[in-house]
Amino acid sequence: MKAESALLGTAGFAGFLVLCEAVPRTGIVSDNYFPPVTRIADALVTELSDQAFWTALGDTLTGWALGLAIAVTAGILTGVLIAVTPYLREATASTIEFLRPIPSVALIPLAVLLYGTELQSVLLLVVYASFWQVLIQTLYGVQDVDPVADETARSYGLGTWARVRHVLWPTALPYIMTGVRLAAAVALILAVTAELVIGAPGLGRRIAVAQSSQAVPDMYALVVVTGVLGLLINVGARTVERRALAWHQSVRGEVAV
């Protein structure tokens, strides 16, 4: 059954590629707009042998990784702090609910003015967007702490720090990992967006340049690269999640089935 669905999946992907080759070849869509797959693949090979492409990829990944790291650290610390301080949760709830839906792209003009096309522009957008994902999930996780476990820990004389470490952290970790996974995807979107719109160096700017210089196959090749990057990040985040939660029921259950 697993082999069958892998086979079907491969067939589906191959069919998709053939379709993308056939549609421009037969002239249903002009190949000026949508070049055949083989030409995109050619452009991709050219890109891969270009030093500037790797620099751009490195820039994008730097913005992504730094922004994600800052957002995750800040999100978890703020979440735990809000959870362990009395009344802080009630007091911050309305503010969080108000700030969270603010679209991070609203900050683009501000980022341009403050930092121009520097890395900080990218970081501002990436951190703002992914911080909320982590914070919200951390708060959900903290809410899920079993009161009996917490009170047991209290009556055994565990201090605040020990309770955070041994009761709160294991309960919240599955939620936090979900938050990190979501944040990793969002961070890539915002990193590429910042490069595309603001013009900070990276894959996004390369796409914008390819588009304005009418290098259509190169543009598609770069879009494919961002897609592969997104896919790798999703798979990577899921692997990290599974590793970090190897002890957890949800993952152990998966293995047994």
């Binding site: 603010i102 979107i189 590429v192 595309l196 719109v197 997104g230 999703n234």
Partner: protein, 259 residues
């Protein structure tokens, strides 16, 4: 009465404190980029007049609505088909996973090739970015329909559109709404970005225009308005969700309480 007052205090205290802090911290600010909050607030009604609301905000919102609705219809319809048949799902899954992983904003230059820079482009960008979360969540939701329930429905002779409406879509609706919620925030992002790229009107266009002409307080009012818009849309969405999923939340609460 006392608890209500206390709750109100908790809801309002921190936002008020932050606004007051912003007000006084920026009051004597001479930094061009951080104008005093007083200036921003007095500029607000001057900038967002009736005319501008009609010419910039309304087109933006209409495009968002059109793209989002198209994405919802296509996503739910395709998702139901793909989710219902195991083989179709196996064939489509890798392609869908890849297409979803492409960051939606890179679609802007691609779609510009096809659709120029008019309204069609913006609607297509919004729709093609929003469709993935809706589609994939619908697939998951339809796939996870309780088999006892679907077999019971079948043995009662509920088939065709009645089955689709009352069994399949009903039980997938919590998942579908999760997808719709993700899609809404992507939609707002794409609305703004597609206008920043190429447009002659719209919120994103206006804000970038303010920034380029160094009308900083005006730009700040735009940022505030966008924030407000994001907040209002999420509140509206939550109201809608509470109505549509009332049965589900009730069910979950009772099953939690009893367990």
């Amino acid at each position: 009465m006392k608890t209500l007052a206390l709750r109100l205090f908790f809801v309002l205290a921190l936002p008020l404190l932050l606004v007051i802090a912003w007000w006084f911290a920026s009051d004597s600010s001479t930094d061009v980029y951080w104008p005093p909050l007083r200036t921003i607030l007095t500029t607000f009604p001057d900038v967002w007049t009736g005319e501008r609301l009609r010419d910039d905000v309304l087109p933006s919102l209409l495009r968002l609505l059109a793209g989002y609705t198209a994405a919802a219809v296509v996503g739910v319809a395709l998702g139901t088909v793909i989710g219902s048949y195991r083989r179709v799902r196996a064939v489509c899954e890798p392609v869908l996973e890849f297409l979803r992983a492409v960051p939606p904003p890179v679609l802007v230059p691609v779609i510009m090739l096809f659709a120029g820079i008019g309204d069609t482009m913006k609607i297509a960008v919004i729709a093609s970015g929003c469709v993935w979360p809706i589609l994939l969540n619908t697939v998951e939701g339809v796939r996870a329909v309780d088999s006892v329930m679907s077999e019971t429905a079948r043995s009662y002779g509920i088939t065709g559109s009645a089955r689709l409406r009352h069994v399949v879509l009903r039980s997938a609706s919590p998942q579908i709404f999760a997808g719709l919620r993700q899609a809404l925030s992507i939609g707002i992002i794409l609305m703004v970005i597609s206008e920043m790229f190429a447009a002659s009107n719209g919120l994103g266009f206006t804000i970038v225009q303010f920034q380029r002409s160094f009308a900083i307080p005006d730009m700040w009012t735009g940022i505030l308005l966008l924030g407000l818009l994001g907040f209002i849309l999420s509140v509206l969405f939550r109201l809608l969700e509470r109505r549509a999923l009332g049965w589900y939340h009730g069910l979950r609460d009772t099953s939690r309480r009893s367990s």
